[in-house]
Amino acid sequence: MSNRRFRTWAGILVGTLAGVIAALAHHAFSAEFDAKRPVNLKGTVVKMEWINPHAWIHIDVNDDGGKVERWMIEGGTPNTLFRRGFTKTSLMPGTVIVVDGYQAKDGTQKANGRDLTFEDGRKLFLGSSGTGAPRDGRDPIER
């Protein structure tokens, strides 16, 4: 499919379905987290809470002054973890992860885990392109 035709369909979709998008998330993340407070945290996993409606990962982060701060990182439904083969041993305490997300509006040490990676850059929660294909640049929806 040509880029032009893709843009046409994308335009139709964006224009007509925008009103539906907000109804798809379980929670109003824009009510919880602040777009003006992006965070990039490197921390050590203390525990992972497999709870509903959303899983939370607790990490210890060393600040610049050597002080350790405990952060809570919000993920999605634990159902998805089961279905994707993620188990309770997949993320053990002591693992170092990097959190790319947004801090809670109330200024507490909570953030959403927009993207989570291991130290070496591998994604902790690896999504496919949506078609089931790996992200290798060959899928037409990858741009």
Binding site: M1, R5, F6, W9, A10, I12, L13, V14, G15, T16, L17, I21, A22, A23, A25, H26, H27, A28, F29, S30, A31, E32, F33, D34, A35, K36, N52, P53, H54, W56, M72, E74, G75, G76, T77, N79, T80, F82, R83, R84, Y102, A104, K105, D106, T108, K110, N112, R114, D115, K123, F125, L126, G127, S129, G130, T131, G132, P140, I141, R143
Partner: protein, 334 residues
């Protein structure tokens, strides 16, 4: 008896190359196929049924009267739709910080499915022919606007947030059921005289008596409505009344009359059809049809109240906004 849409849809299915029958080797176009029966002689709908699809509920306006994609259109629409939903897109893909927050987390967590319905329809809505929800009545518009405005305000208490965020009803659980972000599975149980519809979202079980008893008195209102079932041939028909004014399905009100029809059309398919009739809210009734696929996957518990930290975070966020000058909004969730 109201005419079902199953027959016209079956005709539509046979008019396009990708029929349900072709897909599962078993059934929708095969009129000789007979659904299995329970030991007590009614059609057997038992099992876990997956209703994921990326076919939109409403037909995109620019598609006009086109009811079914032709040629390469379905594949092109699918690719564009998957691209639009792709939560791995970030700032380098043109996503604003505000949208990035709304996307919440990356693609791993989302489970919309990745296919259009096999009959290539352009919308799940089949009536009216526009494929779109009919216009709201003035009363319906007024109520809908008030609900939206209330939701846009910073919440003072949990009651100010939507029922999904409060873990009362799942956002895809309706009723009626509506494909959404994840947990798009319904487990149907049957016993003599009853059917139970357990949806994976928020463990929502609807117990449907089939003994032709009447509905509850009009003053008794229920979150999911008051469901009563019956058999119409091989179709399980569930009529729900007595909804509340605390919920709304795409603009519906407490007096919505919801009719759902479950028809087993093949070994691995149930056609789920629902009609929303609510003259107080909509200028006309409307009907959607969603194919459900049998899945061997188990249902998982979704005990939403278990650790709903998010409600505290939302309320704290609202208080922080007030301290900062009162410009906080309620966000854009349910």
């Amino acid at each position: 008896m109201r005419r079902s849409l199953i027959a016209p849809l079956a005709a539509m299915l046979t008019a396009v190359p990708l029929t349900l029958a072709a897909a599962d080797g078993g059934g929708d176009g095969d009129q000789s196929w007979t659904p299995p029966r329970t030991a007590w002689g009614v059609p057997d709908l038992r099992g876990v049924w997956d209703f994921r699809t990326i076919t939109p509920l409403e037909r995109p306006a620019k598609l006009g009267d086109k009811q079914v994609f032709e040629g390469d259109e379905a594949a092109e629409f699918r690719v564009a739709e998957l691209g639009r939903r792709d939560k791995d897109r970030r700032a380098s893909d043109g996503i604003s910080a505000e949208q990035d927050v709304r996307n919440a987390y990356n693609q791993f967590w989302w489970d919309y499915g990745d296919e259009l319905t096999e009959d290539r329809r352009t919308s799940l809505i089949v009536r009216p022919e526009s494929g779109r929800i009919p216009a709201l009545t003035p009363k319906g518009r007024e109520r809908y606007s008030a609900m939206r405005a209330a939701r846009a305000r910073p919440p003072r208490t949990p009651v100010d947030r939507g029922v999904a965020e409060r873990c009362i009803l799942g956002f895809n659980a309706g009723p009626p059921y509506s494909p959404s972000a994840y947990n798009n599975n319904v487990h149907i149980f049957q016993s003599p005289g009853y059917a139970v519809l357990l949806i994976e979202m928020v463990n929502d079980a609807r117990i449907v008596p089939l003994d032709r008893r009447g509905h509850l008195p009009a003053h008794i209102r229920q979150w999911r409505g008051d469901a009563r079932g019956r058999w119409d041939g091989d179709t399980l028909v569930v009529e729900s009344r007595n909804f509340t004014d605390k919920t709304s399905f795409r603009g519906s009100g407490a007096n919505m009359a919801l009719t759902e029809r479950f028809t087993r059309v093949g070994p691995d398919r149930v056609l789920y059809e629902y009609t929303v009739s609510d003259p107080e809210s909509f200028k006309a009734p409307w009907t959607a049809v969603i194919p459900m696929k049998k899945t061997a996957e188990p249902m998982f518990e979704y005990a939403c109240h278990e650790g709903n930290y998010s409600m505290f975070t939302m309320l704290e966020g609202a208080r922080e906004g007030e301290r900062a000058g009162g410009h906080e909004t309620g966000g854009d969730g349910q």
